[in-house]
Symmetry: D2
Amino acid sequence: MPAQEDFAIKTLGPCTRPSPLSRLHDVGFVEDDARILYQHKCGAGAADWGGLCFEEAGPRASIYFDPAKTTAAVVTCGGLSPGLNNVIRSVYCELAYNYLVPRVLGVRNGYMGLNPDSGLRMVELTPAFVDNIHYLGGTVLGSSRGSQEVGVIVDTLVRDEIDILFCVGGDGTQRGAAAISDEVERRGLKKAVVGIPKTIDNDLHYVYKSFGYDTALEKAEEVLRGAHVEARCAPNGIGLVKLMGRNAGFIAAGAALASQDANFVLIPEIPFRLEGEDGFLTELERRVLSKGHALVVVAEGAGQDLFTPSDTRRDASGNVLHDDIGILIRDHCHAHFKDRGIAINLKYIDPSYYIRSTPANAGDRILSDQMARMAVHAAMAGKTDTLIGYWHNELVHVPIRTAIAEKRQLDLTSDLWTAVMRSTGQPVWRV
Amino acid sequence: MPAQEDFAIKTLGPCTRPSPLSRLHDVGFVEDDARILYQHKCGAGAADWGGLCFEEAGPRASIYFDPAKTTAAVVTCGGLSPGLNNVIRSVYCELAYNYLVPRVLGVRNGYMGLNPDSGLRMVELTPAFVDNIHYLGGTVLGSSRGSQEVGVIVDTLVRDEIDILFCVGGDGTQRGAAAISDEVERRGLKKAVVGIPKTIDNDLHYVYKSFGYDTALEKAEEVLRGAHVEARCAPNGIGLVKLMGRNAGFIAAGAALASQDANFVLIPEIPFRLEGEDGFLTELERRVLSKGHALVVVAEGAGQDLFTPSDTRRDASGNVLHDDIGILIRDHCHAHFKDRGIAINLKYIDPSYYIRSTPANAGDRILSDQMARMAVHAAMAGKTDTLIGYWHNELVHVPIRTAIAEKRQLDLTSDLWTAVMRSTGQPVWRV
Amino acid sequence: MPAQEDFAIKTLGPCTRPSPLSRLHDVGFVEDDARILYQHKCGAGAADWGGLCFEEAGPRASIYFDPAKTTAAVVTCGGLSPGLNNVIRSVYCELAYNYLVPRVLGVRNGYMGLNPDSGLRMVELTPAFVDNIHYLGGTVLGSSRGSQEVGVIVDTLVRDEIDILFCVGGDGTQRGAAAISDEVERRGLKKAVVGIPKTIDNDLHYVYKSFGYDTALEKAEEVLRGAHVEARCAPNGIGLVKLMGRNAGFIAAGAALASQDANFVLIPEIPFRLEGEDGFLTELERRVLSKGHALVVVAEGAGQDLFTPSDTRRDASGNVLHDDIGILIRDHCHAHFKDRGIAINLKYIDPSYYIRSTPANAGDRILSDQMARMAVHAAMAGKTDTLIGYWHNELVHVPIRTAIAEKRQLDLTSDLWTAVMRSTGQPVWRV
Amino acid sequence: MPAQEDFAIKTLGPCTRPSPLSRLHDVGFVEDDARILYQHKCGAGAADWGGLCFEEAGPRASIYFDPAKTTAAVVTCGGLSPGLNNVIRSVYCELAYNYLVPRVLGVRNGYMGLNPDSGLRMVELTPAFVDNIHYLGGTVLGSSRGSQEVGVIVDTLVRDEIDILFCVGGDGTQRGAAAISDEVERRGLKKAVVGIPKTIDNDLHYVYKSFGYDTALEKAEEVLRGAHVEARCAPNGIGLVKLMGRNAGFIAAGAALASQDANFVLIPEIPFRLEGEDGFLTELERRVLSKGHALVVVAEGAGQDLFTPSDTRRDASGNVLHDDIGILIRDHCHAHFKDRGIAINLKYIDPSYYIRSTPANAGDRILSDQMARMAVHAAMAGKTDTLIGYWHNELVHVPIRTAIAEKRQLDLTSDLWTAVMRSTGQPVWRV
């Protein structure tokens, strides 16, 4: 239950300098007390949140840092997501062309590049460096998973005279950003740490859609289309596609809805049984026997309780490593239908890395540009420990600590999920 | 200035039947008094709209029509937009599979198909008919521009026992829908008329984004990319692209922002001069001489005051036919640089129909599905003269009459437009 | 070593009817003794094949069948390949519109649909049925693997009065077609069996490129691009992509060449060792340590000798089922680098079904159209046991039996493979 | 009528050095007397060309230039074509990585960059420079139209110690290359001039397919698809698309065949009348009245005799500037149907620059790589005045002079054109 103090934004100090943006054009400065309501519903069923609200993002007429004496750095961490290069480029362009900041550094390979032991050197961004990068997938700065000792990172910021650090990444990355911000504050430094949310799974709180998600749907839908074609072209054809989504089914649900051809969508939010009268395999069998084909979408984080318990494994970023639900379902399908003497044609597709590495589509190019520029505005105004959030179609400031307090999941009464239920016709699982 | 009565939705009568959706699953029914606030900003600069709000769209637990005795029809009108087939398919699927409505008709070639004189016969939609249409551009029902005599249309509704008419189209189409709804009411009939907004230009009020717009940006951005490549590869290269947007610059602005390579974006909302010190051609010359290339985006409705007055021409739908600003600028460019003895390489591209006819991308497939299903829910609940609107990320009900009262234009203080100004660096035109 | 008699085409009898094509236009009839030379090289290193030649494909001025009394059927078998629907459509259009054949049947789900026990019924092709199918992946007729009893199939041809059977498929399918042709001849029937080669792997003899191959390269290259991006964005990143190619490395080689970013291409034609000084893993380690990233492409049929012997498994079509070389290499990579204490980031992608199910690109649409129409010309001229071959850029007739005598593999001295060696810089493996 | 001496390749001198390629792997050296037969047909209707043959392209075991002391330069001229960056990259990679040539220059903006008066400076190609350029459309070196004084160009080659010049371009560019080669020879210099054919129109002799053509078909087919959708969705809809092809209808024919939806394809090779009983407009009217829609493809060079005579205009490269046949047909259509009182919906699309600027598809990436590497092999072996040709699927050496002696046009008895006639059903025009 958020309260207003959870949305209070930290600042490094008063904004006493006029923004250099004012020279440019009728720029649409946003007042610093402009707010976006948390609750935009009323009437039956709408909780009353009083005046709870977020700080609105946008360029401020007065800023904290002196552009001519400011050095900024940008770091991209974690798994790839379409739009990373667009963020890097727009951070640079807004700083260099509009705020006239003379020095913008790119950190190599995530937080690792802020640790001198890595041997990695920062690159100074230039117009030539960013020239065509918005057309390319991945991140030209490289990425990595895992954290680094926070004291070492702040030492680097001090030594390289970095005033602003933009941390582009998901949950783990923002956790790191919050720690850096804390250490900066502890040492009494005046450095801004601003987070730009990168979550292809779309599971960061207060960011209803992050860049990369739309592109992921685009590519995932293509894969579903292929799986559907495969399923329809073979007797008792089953297309089984595992999509991203460790904690939340947003990609599975969105791609299924875009496809309109999916018959089952299995997500982390909804437990299900494989066997038994109400189990998934029985429903799948019904579908295959009646229609001759089926398309199944499973999010990577679905059905984790179906595995026999084992020690929890984690990757370098601390994310829980899941057992592979796609493989589990594939194997159980084969066994189930073999038991019943039904010949099936099952095609299993796991497109994860292919999707993550594609360039951003137009919508994500716009969103990553906007988030990047808003992050620059926030930083130049001296805001810190701040993440660019996205709420009711407006970009807002969210304290990083608040954003990472818990993971976002699909609301099962949302239009998105009820539409998935209606377009697939899948049953409500009983466990 | 809208008032609450402008947002009041008409209904045919009380909803006394339980929705057949309740058999399906945990369906997420929306209370009929659920509302979405008009204003979701507060603090400095945010106007106070009190509790002004829209009715929230969604399935109702009780409905007006008896599904087993209901006939619905869908008509697609006006210019093509990506997503039309998706709307047709989802209207059909929601009615047939979820509400179990036995008869859904497709009207051929827009309102023309509701006039018996056209010789066109309605087609009865079936699973086979809609099977693969969501992968195709255009509309399988055909379209047409222009209106038909409203009495004739209502006669057809009566004769063919059509209880619900879904009108998919833009401004002109919705104007027609409102007239049909009036005539239905005048005759005391119990027929629902529900509008589904189709506006690739994105210029319908209370619909901040319609299906087709995202796809249009995707394709328009590809064209801008090509024009930028052409411009950079030739000495003094100029890429000039005319994009859609008769009254509003949404496509031009969005595509330019997605591109990040545009230098000038000319839109209907902002007048400009061609010649003179502050004129567009002078600025273009500066850019070309300093950088060697330029990319210019012009919305089709921009700069209409630059033409010498002539009688206003209109197309069959009553839209004002514009003189061709793309050709005008192209020709003035050639003349301007020739006068100054500067050899240029200007490439002009007008991709309009290519963009309009493409299939919907994933985002638009989801949006058209949602709008279509919401329209079905509204109609089954007996709402009429109602358009599916889109406000702060929520689908809402808007009286058609209110929606068409005036055209929507780009807010020049919006994040979208200020981002365009910052990414292009173009000047504020003085006229 | 082929001899001229291997290229002799069987015919059902003399062609005594003028072709209805002659009414159409200046049609480019091909003389029945037109030939394409087997050998088009001379000078050093070019074997002398004398006048060895193929029959040229094309419409004949005189034909064998009376179109008005002819029934044709088309069957699609085996795995999917882009272009199947285009073949179905062009077979139909050429027969119906140009030869005026009144009855063209589509067989459901491969040879299975010619066995009455399957319960599958043939569909009569119509303009509406084929209307938009050329835009869709897969085959609207469905497919299946495996053979059916040849006597049963010929019984079906007799009962349904099918005069011409077009068999669209690869090696196994053509083996079936040859058997059907034999049985037809044994019974003294006058029915033509014409094969249309479908081999995404490109491994049919006398067909230097089949439809689907180009599209497969297009999609495979996209996947390689993604894997390269993944590899470059992570420290010691390795992209490992398994592509199709059970017996031949054409897709792996072509995609790698299109990509230009691959560093290793492992194909069935070239054995390699994993371990040891000259082994693949040692070379991969060198590459990763010196450049920081690597992209590895492996054809599914490569390195089969690396598996410990087990009973040979076959799929329903009789194809040898391979152990999964992609998984093997992935696991050995992890072990190899772990042994050496080198942290790597390996991303494994297996896009097979995604590629197979895509719609044909423009080049494949043209090729499938041409092959389909040539097959119709051959059949109408009474040729049987005939496959449409492709040789030195010309479509030719090849006896099916000759085409399936052995599998085609990559010529390691060809421009394609030497270009792969030069663009990757990979070593010659010593085994 | 070509004779063997027309195919004789000039060389700068004997090849006395072993190729550095021999260190690499089993490289597939091509003997210098390897030949490809001009005629690969025999039997009825095949002209007897005796042993007339081309020199086969490929790496030679012995070369002329000493790689360590060689400087090469590459220049891209004329209109854009997909694949230019791929050619630049592969020329560089083959020279630098395989032949170990230390210095490869890129000429800016076509031949203009070889004239010091332009102020343009050559760029030294590096791995960083070419890193990602194969993913981008256009040419990173820039291009220009028009010729430069040949003496000035050779002066530049001398001053900058350029030993090899690769000229990437079409007819006009190769004319320039031939002149440079002549001047080099006249001065007794030992410099190789090798042409790489770039002709999106596919109209260079002895190059049956150049890079860019396949990509152009891909994009052109998409545009035709859109125009077809537009035509089908409106009453009496007519889609009219102008495609590239000044002298030859290859793109129009190929795109129409890929589309299968075109009804008329007008090309430069076939004159037609607009009006009269057998005129195009009458046939179009028949089609529209019977089917309700039509798709018309017109090559830009078609119907040039329909314009009233005027002075021939030429562009900077000397290409004849055509009056715009697309506009002419559009306007005559409107007038024709208006005269007859038939309301039509005509949508005209001219996608030229959009197509030219796209990145190469997989097939063209392979072809441009192959042509580039073959050009390097030819040059290193001291061949000059040589163009990389493409004949019966083999890359060959053709004297530039021979290649540009006349323009290539569509063979109206070819499989390509007869397939277009059969798939469209269009009549043979009588003039």
